[in-house]
């Protein structure tokens, strides 16, 4: 199987700052891949290394098997949907979408026809004559998407694609992007700092921390079996248990993660602590309590009795739900 994108020991240093540090990465063709991490973790630099706006300090980048480490952006068959969309304000929507074909020298008639087709694909048929300034945020995003797709790239890069949209639109757009990717069969790589977005959209994802990949895997891998404390902390709303507490709860003396959904309240738990807060979440309530100085969340489904804040209680769980992490 061909890899759409492959990094071999890729580094990008800015002076003393190691924005990306010896990263190995393999993205399968046709994947919907997410790069997740806090700001400054190197995920955006990785995206820019794929698009060609950054050149690696060392290492090799391959796209569809070809070494592109030194290839400038305009010669890469990769296109980007920018975070701020970067639509050209002086052109109408149709000309924006057709831009990629215009600079290739495709004649006016065919490129505008093709732009109309793409506008229809992103449900913006009839908007061709408008200027980007006359569109809403969601519509602008679709134009940016259509514009990035007109060159039929091998890989489509999306930089925080949903960051600027409000919640409702974001959810609708998630489904739409997913459907679009399936229909086109193009590899999508997107950057996000939103765990839910990464977990719900991607087939596989890489979690970045301080210029390196902390873990790479399917959403289920990452969520259920985080490799390090950082991943568990960042991705989940998972509980991170220090070695002492893991041991007290019946596990080995190692860092472990425990999902709140797998955690029940138990008056007679091996360790008890004080309930600090209740957070209503529709399908149930998240109960926050402190066990041996560590904050723990347990999930109580709707309809079950809830403890009073300030009361003392313990937790219980199926031992199989406890995930011991190799990394510290």
């Amino acid at each position: 199987m061909t890899l759409a994108v492959e990094f071999q020991k890729v580094s990008r240093h800015f002076g003393q700052v190691k924005a990306v540090d010896r990263v190995d990465l393999a993205i399968a063709e046709g994947a919907f891949f997410a790069m997740l991490g806090p700001s400054g973790s190197g995920k955006t630099t990785c995206l820019r290394l794929i698009s060609g706006f950054e050149t690696p300090t060392s290492g090799t980048i391959r796209i569809m098997g070809e070494d592109v480490s030194r290839t400038p952006p305009h010669l890469r068959n990769v296109n980007t949907v920018f975070q701020d969309y970067a639509l050209f304000p002086h052109m109408n929507v149709r000309d924006n979408v057709a831009y990629g074909l215009m600079v290739k020298g495709v004649d006016k008639r065919s490129r505008l026809d093709r732009a109309e087709e793409l506008l229809a694909q992103v449900k913006l048929a009839g908007y061709g004559d408008r200027k980007p300034g006359q569109l809403s945020g969601g519509q602008r995003q679709r134009v940016a998407l259509a514009r990035a797709l007109i060159n039929e790239p091998r890989v489509l890069l999306l930089d925080e694609p949903l960051g600027a949209l409000d919640l409702k639109l974001r959810e609708a757009m998630q489904d739409e992007l997913k459907a679009l990717q399936k229909r086109l069969g193009i590899t999508f790589v997107f950057v996000t700092h939103d765990q839910n977005e990464a977990l719900s959209m991607a087939d596989s994802l890489a979690v970045f921390s301080e210029g390196r990949i902390a873990q790479i895997g399917t959403p289920a891998d990452i969520y259920d079996r985080p490799a390090t404390r950082f991943v568990a902390d960042f991705v989940g709303s998972s509980n991170v248990l220090p070695p002492g507490l893991t041991r007290a709860l019946g596990g080995p003396a190692a860092w472990a993660s425990l999902r709140p959904e797998a955690t029940r309240l138990s008056a007679a738990g091996p360790v008890t602590g004080t309930v600090t807060a209740l957070r209503y979440q529709g399908a149930g309530t998240r109960v926050l309590l402190t066990l041996q100085g560590t904050d723990i969340a347990a999930f109580v489904p709707a309809g079950q009795p809830l403890p009073e804040p300030g009361s003392t209680i313990g937790i219980a769980f199926d031992p199989a739900a406890l995930h011991v992490m190799e990394g510290a």
């Binding site: 305009h74 980007t80 920018f82 050209f88 831009y99 600079v103 290739k104 007109i150």
Partner: protein
């Protein structure tokens, strides 16, 4: 004791602020009133008076202004010697604007897109510094630089390029005895003197073009040249137009540089000066003064039609 829901009024400042909160237009009127009165009465009033004068004519025997409406004065503009003044000035202004634009662009581009911190400060200082010295001092300094015995001639001798300089001066119409007595000299000094007025608006316009937009163009396959033509230039156009309005109208109205440097042939500014001063022909001076205004209006209308302000 609990604090009251409404805080006590401390003085006139509080009352005034309250008024502005309730009536935002009061502040607007206070801020815009004085300058609008100035603009309306002093500036537009003077302009209308000028326009008015240009429709009067002068009695050729008595030399007195005849306060009757006539187009005679405008007809005089079409006389060969007056029309030459018009052509000379407008072509000079157009060339000066074009050259300023071409020379200013790389400087403005560097300042807007690459210069940071100290380099930016150095840029502003470098552009503004010439504006701090007197205009006359600069023009006379250039007279010395361009004179036959001046630095340029000396430098040409030192670098054995005298032949090139002489070739330039031997050009018909724009050449002359020395740079300081030729149209080339006038042109060089105009470009030097008005350059900052082209750089600054251009730089401001280029600075507003987000980097991501240039990246988007490159991402879609555009070469540097294509990015320049299809993205940078159209987006910088309002700034270029603004700059060219400065260089164009300043050249149209200037009456000192062509007097000190060049062939001493009359430009519009000099004509206005001569007709209203020495000759006492205020109507003709007014008619000449209308030319730059009309040209600028036409220029702006064309620029607008061509979509120069669409990106604003």
């Amino acid at each position: 004791m609990t604090a009251p829901a409404i805080l006590p009024v401390r003085g006139p400042g509080d009352r005034f602020t309250a008024l502005i909160w309730r009536q935002p237009r009061v502040l607007l009127a206070l801020m815009l009133g004085p300058p609008l009165i100035w603009l309306g009465v002093v500036y537009l009033g003077a302009l209308i008076a000028l326009l008015w004068q240009s429709f009067y004519s002068i009695d050729e025997f008595s030399g007195l202004v005849v306060p009757e409406f006539t187009l005679k004065t405008y007809a005089e503009l079409l006389r060969p010697q007056n029309f030459d003044i018009f052509l000379r000035t407008v072509s000079m202004a157009a060339l000066v604007s074009l050259a300023s634009g071409v020379l200013a662009f790389p400087i403005a581009y560097f300042a807007a897109r690459h210069a940071r911190g100290r380099w930016k400060a150095a840029f502003y200082l470098g552009v503004m510094l010439p504006l701090w010295s007197s205009y006359l001092v600069k023009v006379y300094a250039w007279k010395l630089i361009l004179a036959k015995e001046g630095i340029v001639t000396w430098a040409a001798e030192a670098t054995h390029t005298t032949a090139a300089l002489e070739g330039l001066l031997a050009l018909p119409a724009i050449g002359g005895n020395s740079l300081s007595t030729s149209y080339i000299g006038t042109f060089l000094v105009f470009v030097y003197v008005w350059m900052p007025y082209m750089i600054l608006p251009m730089q401001a316009a280029l600075e507003r073009v987000p980097t991501s937009m240039l990246e988007a163009a490159a991402d879609l396959g555009a070469t540097r040249g294509q990015i320049f033509r299809t993205v940078i230039l159209p987006l910088a156009l309002p700034g270029i137009i603004a700059g060219s309005i400065f260089t164009f109208s300043l050249t149209l109205g200037d009456y000192i540089i062509p007097q000190i440097i060049g062939t001493s042939k009359t430009f519009i500014g000099m004509a206005v000066y001569q007709f209203q001063g020495t000759a006492g022909n205020v109507p003709l001076a007014a008619a000449f003064a209308m030319i730059p205004i009309v040209i600028m209006l036409i220029y702006l209308a064309i620029a607008r039609r061509m979509g120069a302000f669409d990106a604003l």
